[in-house]
Amino acid sequence: MIPVIEVTRLSKRFGDFQAVRDLSFTVNKGDVYGFLGQNGAGKSTTIRMLLTLIRPSSGSIVIEGENLFTHREKILQHTGAMIEKPDLYDYLTAAENLTVFARLSGFKPTRKLIMEKLEMVGLTSRAGSKIKTFSQGMKQRLGIAVAMVHDPSLIILDEPTNGLDPQGIADIRKLIISLSRDFGKTLLVSSHLLGEMEQMATRMIIIHQGAKIVEGEIKDLLDPEHVILEIFAVNNDLCRQWLNTSAWSDKLQFSETAVSVVKIHRSEIPEITREMVMAGIDILSVKPKNTLEEYFLSLTKQVPDVEPR
């Protein structure tokens, strides 16, 4: 596995508000990496940092082995992105928008190439139409074409299916899978819809309030034999400390003031509980979550708000 994006202890603070906290994750070559979290979880802030739109408060981003902030232009030459809404120049046509953004990427596109990209997103017939006449779904598809126009090896798509109808969502999903499988592209796709991610991502991270909750391969995360275990203790610092030195230290996914999360095999639940009690940890509750969906939904309801550091 060749790492394409390596994010280490990334944080971003806006005044008193901590948007991203100590976030670390790795995207490997050929991955369709799902970046999941509720609205306001910190997905877009992280993506903006990956695209140098925002400077991190701390932490590092390495893309294809090079520091993003010291090799910015070289890295961005191989990166395509659609950030949040697909806002484009509404007074230009679809083909003109593609040409402008291709040339900004240092690439001189031919008419044939522009038409190919438009065909890929089903907009060939609207090549000469101004963007202001486009529906939200059409803009979304054109935004994806803009991200791909200079043939980047890394594509970052922020909520790419927003505003699309079911057929549009299916088409984009097919396109994303094909870009990874047939063209060897690496994709980081953010979404707040777990069901959507399950269908296209190979690996996934869930973030909440700017921090990582869980990361892993989809097949592992959805493995019925493994459960995501939420442990609430009277003193969670002690619980976390113990988990870090226990046999389950590598299973610890997330730990905050009130809760620790581990991903373990179902059969290990009694053992971990017993060991914690024996270690003198006062446990309030131990809740196994069977599916990622259930966990994701419960998480947003149950995890108390974390105070900014």
Binding site: L53, R72, E73, L88, Y89, Y91, L104
Partner: protein, 291 residues
């Protein structure tokens, strides 16, 4: 760099608002020309009344050169608004449209991006001034013909020979371009701070108006800062129409009475332009793109 500048120019000239300034200038100049074509002789007669009593004035006083001078004097006060319309929209317009984040995520350094946008704004300003010169000077010459240029000031009358007039207009329009680029740079700088173009346009015009008022008021407190205000130097183009005279009280053709003052004003405007450009780079480098 040229690739970036050409892309910015392409975007500027595809925007409908760009042509508002060209249309407005054409309309205003057309209106002034029409007015002078119909009633100009009476207007000039009235204006020259004091002179006619003591002097015999021959030739065509109302000519293309005089009209161009009147237009320049009138329009250069209002053109900053038209310049700010485009320059004030360069960054804030992109932020408002949501395209700024896409633009900044491209493999182009922020310094180059800002510089290319500012250069494009300057080219737009120069094109507007060229258009103004075509309408105000060449069209007026075509309609009203040429003769000596007579300029009446509060305490003196300057007569510039016909053969000595045209180059002064080229110089005046060149200087006016520098003055308008200063306004464009200010509007551009302000546009970095805003996510809609109305703010920078209004802020730019407010600064121009406040500085102009300070220039007009003859108060000691303002007199101290006047030499440093860019608005004090924007009208220095008039210096090109002050002609040196020799010991025999004759005009020296091709001369400028106080070239040093004109050059000093040009230098101060240049310092402002470079200052706004550098400030734009510094601010934009550190800016988090949240739009």
């Amino acid at each position: 760099m040229w690739n970036l500048v050409s892309l910015e120019l392409f975007k500027i000239f595809r925007k409908p608002r760009t042509y508002i300034a060209f249309a407005a200038i054409s309309a205003i100049i057309g209106l002034i020309q029409l007015g002078f074509y119909v009633d100009g002789e009476a207007y000039i007669k009235f204006g020259m009344q004091a002179l006619s009593d003591n002097f015999d004035i021959e030739g065509k006083v109302l000519n293309g050169y005089l009209l161009a001078y009147i237009i320049l004097q009138t329009l250069l006060i209002h053109v900053p608004l038209l310049i700010a319309l485009v320059a004030g929209d360069m960054i804030s317009g992109e932020a408002n449209m949501g395209t700024l984040r896409l633009l900044v995520s491209k493999p182009v350094s922020r310094d180059k991006l800002i510089s290319a946008k500012l250069i494009a704004s300057c080219i737009y300003t120069i094109m507007l001034l060229i258009w103004m010169a075509i309408c105000a000077l060449f069209l007026s010459i075509l309609i009203f013909g040429t003769d000596d240029l007579i300029i009446m000031k509060s305490e003196q009358v300057t007569q510039i020979l016909e053969a000595d007039s045209l180059w002064r207009y080229f110089a005046a329009f060149g200087f006016a371009a520098l003055a308008m680029i200063t306004v464009a740079s200010l509007a551009f700088f302000l546009s970095i701070f805003s996510e809609n173009s109305i703010g920078p346009i209004i802020a730019c015009m407010s600064i121009v108006i406040v500085f102009t008022i300070m220039n007009t008021l003859n108060l000691p407190i303002f007199n101290q800062v006047k030499p440093f205000l860019f608005t004090s130097h924007m009208l220095a183009w008039k210096g090109f129409f002050d002609v040196k005279i020799n010991a025999d009280n004759e005009q020296i053709i091709g001369s400028i009475e106080n070239i040093n003052a004109v050059m000093k004003s040009a230098g101060i405007l240049l310092i402002y332009i470079v200052g706004f450009w550098l400030a734009s780079i510094v601010v934009f480098r550190r800016k988090d793109i949240l739009s």
